[in-house]
Each structure stands twice: as C-alpha cells, then as structure tokens.
C-alpha cells in the first residue's frame, strides 16, 4: 500500500507544478490579450523593400 502513498505524492506534486505554471502565466500577462497573438502569426511578412521610393522620400525630409 506504500505505493499508493507514493503515487498520491507524485500526482499532487505534478498538480502543484501545473498550478504554479498557471499562476506564472497569469501574472506574466499571457491572458491579457487573447485575440491578437493567434492572428499575428498568420500575417504574411512582406519585404519592406517593396516601397523603396517612399522610404527615400521619408528619409530626405
């Protein structure tokens, strides 16, 4: 029966680790914005060079 006690200890430790991770993620602001991040990674990155002329105009100002 000692094994039961051991398993309880292990399961509680794992549960506590998960609780800790939850609290950490909450504190670090991961739930602040649940809308933007999943969209952000879907946006295609286009090279900025496409509008060189525009940038030059800006830089000369």
């Amino acid at each position: 029966m000692i094994i039961v006690g051991f398993l309880i200890g292990v399961s509680l430790t794992i549960a506590l680790v998960f609780l800790g991770i939850f609290i950490w993620s909450m504190r670090s602001g991961q739930y602040d914005d649940t809308y933007a991040p999943p969209l952000r990674m879907l946006f295609d990155d286009k090279p900025v060079e496409e509008n060189k002329a525009e940038n030059k105009a800006d830089n000369t100002r």
Binding site: M26, L39, N59
Partner: protein, 807 residues
C-alpha cells in the same frame, strides 16, 4: 445622385457600400478604380494605404475601416512640452516610446495595419497592439518624426488616438479580473484534487487501510486552506461589510455556508466521525467564482464614465505679450486671451473680443443651429466656433464654468447602488431569515428529542442551504444576455442594467443625435439646374460660413470646376447671400427675400431658394436625417414612449408629431437642466424611466434616469456617462431589447424556483439528520449544474429568433 443602384449587393439596401468602412454611400459616391467610397476621408485612407502597398488591409476583412466623417482634429497641442512629457514614456536619442488609446481598433485588419506602420514611415520602428485594451505602443525615432507626426499619421489612416493626460484613467482597470481568475484557478485546482482524495473514503476503506484515512483527510485540509483563505476571502469581507451597515446581501448566506462547511469538516475529521465536506466546499467556490467571472466578462474597453473633460480640448492657443503659445486648458486663468479656431470647442466661459462669431451650442443645448455672438457677449464653455477664428477672454476657470456646474449636479455624485437594490439581494434577505428560523426551529426540536444531534443538524442546515444555485442564476442569465446584446451592438455597463431594463415602463427620447442622425444632413435640389448654374451657386456659397451654405457647398462639390469670378458678395443675416458670379446675379436664401413663393407642403426640411439673374430656379431641401425604422419602433412601444425632449426650437414639431404616437409629449427648447427635471418629475410619479439620448447635453438626464442609454454611431469614439451604449443602427431593435430584458428577469425567477426545490430536498436531508458528506457532494454540484444549464438553454431559446445583424 442618389439613384445609383447595383443589384449584386445585399437586397436590404439599394445603395453602394463603402469599400473602406462598409457604410452605405448616402449622398455621394466617390470612385477609385472600381471601388466606391462614402466620403473623402475613407477615400484618402484607401489611397494612402495603396500607395504604401498596404492593400492587404482590405483582404483580411471586408470593409474594415471606420467612417471618416468626423471633423479633423487639431493636434497642435502635442507640441506643448508639458503635454509631450506626460505622454512619452521613454525617450533617448533616436528612440522613444509612447502608448496611445485608439478606440477604432476592432478587427484583424486594424491589428495588421497598425503593426505595419513602419512601412508607411521608416521612423517608426515597431508597433505593438493590445487588442482588448485598444492600446497601441509605438517605438519611433524622435529625430525623424515627432509625437505630433506620429499622432497625425494615425489620424490620417483613420485611427485617431484618444488622448488624455489623466494617466490613471487608462491604467486603473486591469488588475481586478486577473485576481478573480487566479482565485478561480486555485479553487479549481483544490476542487479536483480534494474530490480525488475523497473518493476512497466514499467507496469504503478496508480495516487494514484505516491509516490512509488520516493522510487523505490531512491532505484535504491542506488543500482547502487556500480555498477558504484566498479564493473565498471576498465573500467574507463583503458579508462583514454588509453586516456592519445592517443589510443582508447575497454574500451573507454564502459566507455563513462556507464557514459552516469548513468548521463542520474540521470537527468531523478531528472527531473521526467522517471525511468532512471539503470537496463540496471547493466545488462550491469553483462554481461561485466561475459565475462571478462570467458576469465580469463585460466590455472593459468601453469607458462608461467619461465626463465633459473628454470632449474638451487638452490645450488651447493663448495670446500674450510674447505672442501666441499653446497652454493646457487646466492652466487657463481668468483674463487670459485665447484664440479658438473653426470647429474647435471653447474650453472655458469667456467674453468675445472680436466683432462677431458664430457659435454652435449643440454640445450644450442640443440646438443645432449656430448662434451669432457680438463683441463683449458671453460665450459659454462647450460651444463650438464655426467659421472665422475667435478671440475670447476667459471669465471663469474651466472648473467653475457653466457646463461644469451641470456635471457637479448631485445626480452625478450618487452611486447607483444607493438608489437601487438588486432583486437578488432582496431574495437573499428573505432567504437568510427563513434559513435562520428553520435552523433555530430544528435546533429546538432536536434539543427536546436528542440533544447530541443539535449541533450536527444546525450545521447541516447551514451547509445545504448555502444559496449556491441562487448566486449562480443571475450571473449566468445576465451574463449570457449581455453577450446577446453585445452581438447586436448594445453594450451594457454591467449585468444589473438588464434587471433595471426589465422594470422600465416609460421611455424618453432626446431628439438631435437620437431621433435624427446628428451631423449627417441630406441636401437635394427641387427644380432644374444645369452644371453651369450649379457651379455658379457653388462659387457663391464658398464665401459664406453659414452652416446652410456650407452644406450646399459640400453638396455641389462634385460639379466640374472652372475659373469663376465673384464680385459684390453680400450676406444678409437671416435672409441669404447674393453676388455677381461670372457676370450672373446669383441669389440664394429665404423665399421671402428672393420674392419667391414659399412651398409649405414639404414640412420635412429647411428650404433654401435659389435664383439666377432674377429667374427662380427652385430650392434646396435640407433635412436632418431621421434614423430608419423609427416609426415601427414607436408603434411597437406604443404608450411606453413618454416624451420627446429636444434642445432645438419648435421648427420640427410637425414632423415629430407625425411619427410619434399622440400620447407622447413633445417638448422643445429643453436645456440640460430641464431634461433632468422632467425625468425626475416622472420618477416622482412612480415611473421607471429609460432615457435615450446622445450623451452630450442630456448626460444629466441619462444619469438621473433608471436606465440611461446613449445612442452613438461610432461606439469606440464616444462613451459618455451612461448605463448602456447603443449603436445608432440598432435603435429600431430597442423594443426587442426591452422584451429580452424582461424575459431574462423571468428566467432568473425560474432559477430561483429550481434552487428552492433543491433546497427543500437538501433541507429535508439536513433536518432529519441524514446529510452525509456523500449526499452533499452530489446534491450541491448537481443544483449548480442544473441552474447553469437551464439558464444557458433558456437564454438561447428566447433569443434564438433575434438574429445577428449584418456588420
């Protein structure tokens, strides 16, 4: 011009939808390639974006923009060093950081565009958007672009920031929900683990395994400590507070129940009589906090408490011996001379120094037509200068002005709670007394029969009677209903507003901005005019600052333009304007002045007649646009619509009496104070009044009313002090909203009945002394789950026919 129709659009509208903002193109259609735009602003934004290869903006979501009809804002005040200091968070050579609130953020396209700002201007390194807060953090090179430049760029692409110097206003709100979620997480963790550790004992432990009982029990106690002392702490403090002011709210029986559960469990475990009720305790907290979290899912990004200061400029040009400089409005002193330009708001009560000035007081009184002020006359704060810039001498500091005094009205100091007691708290009061008397009754009964059972029975009663289901019914019903309303662009400040809406038996409307569509006016010409003649009139109206001239001028903007000469321009106040254009004598103005016959059949509009070289040509009909679907709404409301309060003059009486039912009282020339008084008078007659206004000059009335609803066309830009914000296009659905609110109230009552039935079952176990931990562990979550699923299903059922509107 208005006859442009296409067949490939939705059948509901026969007008073109703007490619940028999706609004129907009402008066004019501007074309670029094959795309149509409703206004110059929308078209400009499109052009800027396509020039910079940012056309993807329109691919991520169709018509993602906001209509650009608002007047352009003057951002000169950002040059003021004091303002700059307050806004910029970090600055070093070649690197600066600023965070701005941009209310227009609402979709994936917004996000994409704002985070690609660096492509429009190289001096912006990076942008970060916080979507739910609608805040944008910009990192830029202050050498290449200054703060004003950044803000102007945002404004140019249709995302004007709302700038406030009150940093607290923006930073105050975030932490509460976070704390609640943490508490919920802890309760969920404890709930799952305690349940797991309680199972062996429910299922029965063999004689040889009795030593485990102690391990399980001790672990359970350890796990329940954070639940009681962290997750449940708010219930204790709230119960204590309400106890101190001798009132019983719902948290009192909840706190008693939680305490009874915990203490009884400790006792049972200590005496070795049972495993205790700790799983029920953790489950209870888990459900309660879930309900609370659900109810708090309101609209964090909308501020419902903005006061007049939000509409005042932050800074104003001040004239002194050293010339003109910008000064913060809060620093304005008596006798300062300020220069207020066209379309700017006068920030403080002052006297006019110039010869004359046109002031539009619609912000203060609702009267739409500008009034003429002459030298030395008083101009109240809140007036908007139209036409020529005006020099004004401050007579009173901002905080002591005329408009401010309205906001200092006692109405604004009362908190909502003191005027209104929630249904749930009334029920809780009764509930608590019944439970307490039951407990005392059974205590006496058991004392006479079996004194050893008294303490057990009493604690059992307190445990099982804990009004968990009662506490869940309102948050879930109202929370679900809030979401339904939100889908229809009707945003409530909190869930309590629904309950108050259910009681409404009288509705009072404001006119300007509510019944009629604020700034938008329709201009149409009745008669015959060729292009050349239109051009003559356009040239003539260019010289006049009168609002009607401006409207006609804008209406004729699309006319092909050639070289024109204007001589002998003459404006006769109250009559019209005339002049020699390209050798033709052009006159527009009132019929009497032109010697033309006034047409009286058309009561819908203001008429401006036109004649060229003495030949009458016809008239321009100018009407404020009435919101569509209004008469159907008023018919549905019937006797409920109590009155129309308008700050305007009686000119619109006929038109208004045509659409309002006969019983509705029509009052004109109503100032802000009169509107407030009218609401109060109706309330004294025992009515529950809902006030529907635009939130500007009627904010006092909105606050005084039982439910104050502000109608607005751009939900993001304008969020005044009120209980609810309704998008203009959704006004016709008002009667449905009211009906849903009443149904929500009924659903809550049905939940009370369910909760009551569970309590009867539970109490019969408790009073007879049979409430074992296992019975409690089944009964308590079961009642919570029944209530939650019933209310979700019921809300879905009543709102199933209420379809989602198009964007």
């Amino acid at each position: 011009m208005e006859s442009v129709t296409t067949t490939n659009l939705a059948p509901v509208t026969n007008k073109l939808a703007c490619y940028h903002c999706g609004q129907p193109c009402e008066d004019e259609v501007l074309k670029v390639d094959d795309k149509s735009f409703c206004c110059l602003g929308c078209k400009t934004v499109f052009e800027i974006l396509s020039e910079n290869n940012l056309g993807d903006y329109y691919k991520l979501q169709s018509a993602p923009g906001q209509q650009q009809l608002r007047p352009s804002t003057n951002f000169e005040f950002l040059d003021n060093e004091e303002v700059r200091q307050k806004l910029i968070e970090f600055e070093s050579e070649g690197y600066a950081k600023v965070t701005l609130t941009v209310p227009a953020i609402h979709c994936a396209s917004c996000l994409w565009l704002l985070e690609n700002l660096y492509r429009i201007n190289r001096n912006i390194f990076r942008t970060e958007v916080n979507f739910p807060r609608k805040r944008v953090t910009l990192f830029f090179n202050p050498k290449g672009i200054d703060l004003k430049g950044v803000v102007q760029l945002l404004d140019k692409i249709g995302y004007p920031p709302h700038i406030t110097l009150n940093a607290q206003e923006e930073q105050q709100r975030p932490s509460y929900n976070k704390k609640l979620l943490l508490k919920l997480g802890v309760a969920a963790f404890a709930f799952g683990n305690i349940m797991l550790l309680s199972f062996p004992e429910y299922l029965g432990l063999a004689e040889t395994e009795q030593q485990f009982k102690w391990i399980f029990s001790l672990l359970n106690i350890a796990l329940s400590l954070p639940v009681v002392f962290y997750s449940a702490w708010d219930y204790f403090t709230s119960a204590w507070k309400s106890f101190r002011i001798r009132q019983i709210n719902l948290d009192v029986p909840l706190a008693i129940g939680i305490a009874a559960l915990f203490l009884r469990s400790l006792y049972d475990i200590y005496m070795g009589t049972g495993p205790g009720y700790l799983d029920s305790l953790a489950g209870l907290l888990f459900f309660l906090l879930t309900g609370r979290w659900f109810q708090n899912l309101t609209y964090e990004n909308l501020a419902f408490d903005r006061d007049y200061k939000a509409f005042f400029p932050l800074a104003v040009s001040v004239e002194s011996d050293q010339g003109i400089s910008t000064s913060l409005v809060v620093n304005l002193q008596k006798d300062h001379v300020m220069l207020v330009r066209n379309q700017e708001i006068v920030p403080a009560d002052s006297d006019l120094l110039d010869e004359e000035a046109l002031v539009d007081y619609s912000f203060v009184t609702g009267e739409a037509r500008p009034v003429l002020r002459r030298r030395g006359e008083h101009v109240y704060a809140g007036g908007r200068i139209v036409g020529k810039p005006a020099r004004l001498m401050v007579t009173r500091r901002v905080s002591q002005g005329h408009l401010t005094s309205l906001w200092n009205n006692e109405v604004f100091r009362k908190s909502d709670e003191s005027r209104y007691k929630r249904m749930i708290d009334r029920t809780a009061t009764r509930f608590t007394w019944v439970i307490l008397s039951l407990a005392v009754g059974s205590a006496i009964f058991w004392y006479l029969n079996d004194a050893s059972q008294v303490w057990l029975v009493v604690s059992s009663i307190l445990i099982v009677a804990c009004p968990c289901a009662l506490a869940l019914s309102a948050p879930f019903t109202y929370g679900n209903m809030l979401r339904v309303f939100g889908n229809h662009h009707f945003y409530l400040k909190n869930a309590d507003v629904i309950e108050r809406m259910a009681q409404v038996d009288g509705i009072v409307f404001d006119k300007t901005g509510t019944i009629t569509n604020g700034s938008a006016a329709t201009v149409s010409f009745k008669g015959q005019l060729n292009d050349g003649e239109q051009e003559l009139i356009r040239a003539l109206t260019a010289g006049s600052a009168h609002p009607l001239s401006t409207l006609i001028h804008r209406h004729l903007e699309g006319v092909p333009q050639g070289a024109v000469t204007l001589n002998g321009f003459n404006e006769v106040p109250g009559a019209g304007v005339e002049g020699m254009v390209n050798g033709h004598h052009v006159r527009i103005g009132s019929g009497a002045w032109l010697g033309m016959e006034e047409i009286t059949t058309d009561v819908q509009s203001t008429r401006v007649y036109a004649s060229i070289d003495g030949i009458p040509k016809g008239y321009f009909a100018i009407g404020s646009r009435q919101r569509p679907g209004l008469s159907e709404l008023l018919q549905k409301l019937g006797k409920k619509s109590l009155a129309l309060l308008s700050g305007d003059n009686t000119g619109d009486r006929e038109r208004m009496s045509a659409i309002f039912p006969q019983e509705t009282e029509l009052r004109f020339n109503q100032g802000p104070q009169e509107k407030l008084d009218y609401i109060r008078q109706q309330q004294d007659n025992g009515r529950h009044v809902m006030m529907i206004g635009d939130g500007l000059n009627d904010s006092g009335a909105l606050k005084q009313s039982h439910v104050g609803v502000a109608v607005t066309d751009d939900t993001g830009f304008f969020t005044p002090s009120c209980d609810a914000i309704l998008q203009g296009s959704q006004l016709p659905a008002l009667s449905e909203f009211l009906q849903l609110a009443r149904q929500a109230s009924t659903i809550v009552k049905l939940c009370f009945i369910i909760s009551f039935l569970y309590n009867v079952v539970g109490l019969s176990f408790a009073i007879s002394g049979h409430l074992t931990p296992l019975v409690a562990a089944i009964l308590m979550p079961a009642s919570s789950i029944t209530v939650v699923s019933f209310t979700s299903a019921a809300v879905w059922f009543v709102s199933r026919n209420f379809q989602r509107p198009r964007k």
